[in-house]
Amino acid sequence: MRDVAIVAFSEGPVTFGSTSTPVEMIVPTVHDVLKQAGIERTDVDFWCHGSCDYMTGQPFSFVSAVDALGAWPPIIESHVEMDGAWALYEAWIKIQTGEAEVALVFGNGKSSAGDMNRALSLQQDPYTVAPLWPGMTAMEGLGACAALQAGTVTERQMAEAASRARRDGAKNGNVLVSGNESADELLSRPVTAAPFRDHDIPAMADGVSAVIIATGDVAKKIAKRPAWIRAIDHRIDHQNLGWRDLARSTSAAIAASEVGVHKDKVDVAELHTTFSHHEQLLINALQLRPDATSITPSGGALVGNTLMAAGLSRFGHAARSIFSGSADRAVAHAQQGACLQQNIVAVLEGN
């Protein structure tokens, strides 16, 4: 295996209702991440993009995103119809094959372009589930009910996760919602989509994230303290919601075990939790100890769900905790699909 590290991260403004086109939104963030790394775009030898055509309503909309990169002289690029974290995974593999040394990875989405609760139904089985238009909130509601009934997550844990996300969001600043409410205060609020209260449901956002990853010597030149990707794994649960146990995330647990999350202390874990109950499900799956690990100190996707960018942002924020020295060992997690269907887990280290 080649040593590969995250060396730069940039997150565009987390907003709702941007009046720019998706391509115009990408440009400043790509420029910023290059600037942070102190490299030119011609130094990048692989570009990888994550986005979703169902969000823009334009088939092959990702092709126009290449305009944002400046494709002259010709560049080598690829796209995944997934969160940018999957683009990072592809770029990491590309580097492992020896075909690239420096890769720029980005993810973008404009939730305000349509009804994402409805659009995300199209991730489901196209014959038996998608035509029913279940909606993301209802599907996640099934998952939350299963977890609450099985006792793998409690209502209080959901409120505590939301309370902390809102406080951390206030510190981060680049989020859509924030607040200082205690878990008790949040629990006193009305249930609006059982078992969810409003704060259990993500604030849908427009946004762009970009990350640069590089091999050993290059990484050391670019970053003072690169965030070395010591291990990364991607696992998938069955697509059919009825064919798996929604009270736990089996695929996240396998991925965490494969990368050895539990083998040493975890200073920071950036978890891609879009609904509040995901946090405890992931703590269970990754066997994290909240008393020893700072859980999603960025606030996470619950307070600014930049679809197709939020997972990559978790990698970026976890890497930042390594860059700054506030963590020596961090875990980055990203998910895609309903009820934590797909999970990527990575261990990042400063040394």
């Binding site: 115009e24 440009v27 305009d67 944002a68 002259w72 372009a113 009804d115």
Partner: protein, 167 residues
Amino acid sequence: MSEKTGDKPLRVRMPIGIDYKWCAGPASTDYLTGLKDGRLFGRRCPVCELVYFPPRNGVCARDGVMLGESVEVGPKGTISTFCIVNVPFLGQTIKLPYVAATIILDGAHLGFSHLIQECEASEVRMGMRVEPVWRDKAEWDYSLENILYFKPSGEPDAPFDDYERHL
């Protein structure tokens, strides 16, 4: 929505539909509001200085930078390439044969496609100078369809050097 007929399988129709709100963005907004007033606006790349008409996604695809100043172009232009359409198809409204051409408007560096009318298809050539024929002003909208077609302007042909780099 559904019908059940004896022992036959239940058939259900579930049409797929999602509504979208598309924002044109600053560059295309100039372009579209210009068209509404019968004017043609592109944007200049601050790096390569080429003028994009239409301004596409608001970025220069060569340089990967946001396009800069708004530039009024045209209305006359030069045909860089063209195609004579001889094949009839369903819903066709234009008399065959007709010409679809790539036109480089004066002051712009990116070709766009439009119809050529008011001349025989056989007369159309690379370098031919053309000008737009606009729809009745009352019908103008935020659309390039405000221009019905382009017709020969009667000027001498542009030299090959003028459009060679845009082929």
